[in-house]
Amino acid sequence: MHKPTSFIRLFAIIGCCFFFLATNARAEQVVVYSARIEQLIKPMFDAFTRETGIQVKFTTDKEGALLARLKAEGRRTPADVLITVDAGNLWEAARAGLLKSISSPILESNIPAHLRDPRGQWFGLSVRARTLVYNTQKVKPTELSTYEDLADPKWKGRLCLRTSKKVYNQSLVAMMIAEHGEAETERIVKGWVANLATEPLSDDTKALEFVAAGRCDVTVINTYYFGRLMEANPALPLAIFWPNQNNSGVHVNISGAGVTQYSKNERSAIKLLEFLSSDKAQNLFADINMEYPANPQIQPSETVSAWGEFKQNQMNVVKAGELQTTAVKLMDRAGYR
């Protein structure tokens, strides 16, 4: 006779599960898939919950894995918001139909046009500037001018670069293709490769250390890596140079977010994005990783401001996505590992 009782028990358990699911669903909440890591998003989510009472549930993973996951889950995805650290991935998410076009006057006024998708599928939330850093004992700043100039033979054996497998370099080259065309960009990248002092390195910090140790004279990095390294060791003979100030401007990328195509809490999701673009969150969002706020009304942190003001490349970062594959192939052809 114990069969029926165990069935009843089973149903009771299932019933409880549904009750739990149902009550859970009633509390207002936003689910975020984030490629931006926990310690760079959690404080803003906490602030958001304090202000609005809306809970934020999130999971982190690599961009590619998150996109594959959204694609597989399709219209049943629990995710309302996707956050990534690079325009290319946001562009790819939009192209794959994973993001929804939204219109929000707040977002549109807070975020400059070149840092968001023209169709409103994603919005930049912080700006990452990819700039030049040189060894102050070996290079006079007057020697430096542009990214393109690093292909000049005068830099032979003096350049260090991070690997082309990193999306930051792919975006930089993609923007150069948008500006100069493929043939000219390939010539420049080949010039870089010819000037390398050592094989491409695995990360920006490594490249900075190589410059500081005198293995090479100049490198291209995201500024927050410079900030972190100098904070730990202020005596290093390194300084920032803002390139391309007389023409296109410094290459910038974004970390940004979009509302997922099948979000069930669209209103709350938009509210979260608006909050993240507002003055309440922008400082925190950027300062926590020494990045620049995407909202031009907000000043970057003191450390970051001390590096000086610069002209940003005003071309829409959507180009970085559109041309990423072209850039990757171009760098393979040019022998840039």
């Binding site: 982190t60 894995a65 293995r215 393979d332």
Partner: protein, 558 residues
Amino acid sequence: MKNENYFTKGDKTVDPPQTFFHLKGAANIWRIIPFLIAALILIPIAVVFSSVFMPANDVWQHLVETTLLTLLINTFWLALGVLTGSALLGVSLAWFTAVYEFPGSRFFSWALLLPLAIPAYVTAFVVLGLFDYTGPIQTNLRTWLGTELPWFPDLYGRSGVILVMTLAFYPYVYLMARNAFLTQGKRLLEVAQSLGLNQRQGFFKVSLPMARPWIAGGLMLTLMETLADFGTVAIFNYDTFTTAIYKAWFGLFSLPAASQLASLLILIVFVVIIAEQQFRIRMRYAETKRSARVDRIALSGWRSSAVACFAASVLFLAFILPIIQLSIWAIQSLMESFDQRYFEFLFHSVLLSAAATLITCFAALLLVYAARLYSDTTTRIAVRIATIGYALPGAVLAVGIFIPVVWVDDLLNAWWLKLFQVEIGFLIQGTLGVMLIAYMTRFLAVGHYPIDSAMQRITRNIDEAAMGFGLTGWSILRRIHLPILKTGIFTAAALVFVDVMKEMPITLMTRPFGWDTLAVRIFALTSEGEWEHAALPAVTLVMAGLVPIILLMRQTDK
């Protein structure tokens, strides 16, 4: 060996459950077990393979035109180098610690396993940090000499990555070979010597060939781990087939091309595995009585110092150096990165690893035993398929697992919707069950090889004798095989436990909300280049991984 016990017990073992297995239909359970397990694991692999039907010609054309040849050559040398290095280190150290007495031999016998607990990419980062141009070694040498160094080994080349991966992966071979040498016993060597062979000849002509299945198993694990590795080669910026997979996926936004490349990788590994298996299929490896530890041969004079130095330097490079560096970083960042949640991360890591170990080893045991009962070609192939998940880059396998899970959820939903007119959302996705099965898919090979090679030690005669006493099915496994397989099972368990602790992509993709582990924490910190801050979770992970390794060694040395 306690065979006598079983035979005496054999008289009274005819209780009802066992007669059940005399029935024809029930006996077939063992016939289909390998196929069931293989089918389960084949699902994600099939998802990866199904990419073959999707268009990705442009990516292939691009690869063929630019980097494919280099990648293949790089991968070949890397695999060959790491296999050779691991075989040399693993087998020699196993031989020394299993057979000889030298200063510290008892300490080294377990300490040499410790590198297993350190993820390879961590060793890579630490070794490069210490020895490359900006590291303290070269910097101090430069200050000391007052000039640029005339020459220093270039770690960013092929030799550097081979060295680091060898240091990280030799314990697989060491552990397996050591089990072989211990279970062979010294008696084998004595027989060899009575036939006029000296110790060296005895090793090369008798002990080494007799240890073949163990060493081959360890090398297979090393090969698969090497081919699937992404973290280590990325730190060296050494381009392999796996880096191409990731480039196709993340750089060229082509998951189909990435999956196709991964399918090719599996095919290559599969061919190697089958070839290796065919090579030793006709051999039988039986156990002699196991010798007690007191029988070890004492090495004397310069020989013992040389062996001790060799073992010490391997241990220093592969474990002590990385752990010192990690500890320094961990102490530096202790104040900033430590919080209450560390205990939660640790708890999650240990719980998941333990549960995954249990499932994986149980599946491996069933697989091994079933394959022993029915050793026809189809069963053997099914077993090989079931253990192929280890050769796939983790992130690709994670997607392969995720897609069918969602698909099952969709089916359940459709069915539920029809019955009750409500949607229930995801039922199985995001549950721990999926996570554990995913781990099993990935690590079944790690559980399989140690148990499989231990099974080779059990002669057919034992089975026949047991059947003569009326034992069948489960009872042979439980009463006769399990006690003999104990060492193999413990080995498998320790390896799987440590591997699951270190695993990243599957954990990231399948974990339920809020189920962060130490590995997830390391990912979070290293992905923004904050290696120093990642030291604390890394040290914790290593320490937690040491526990099963030390338990294992106490078990095998008994």
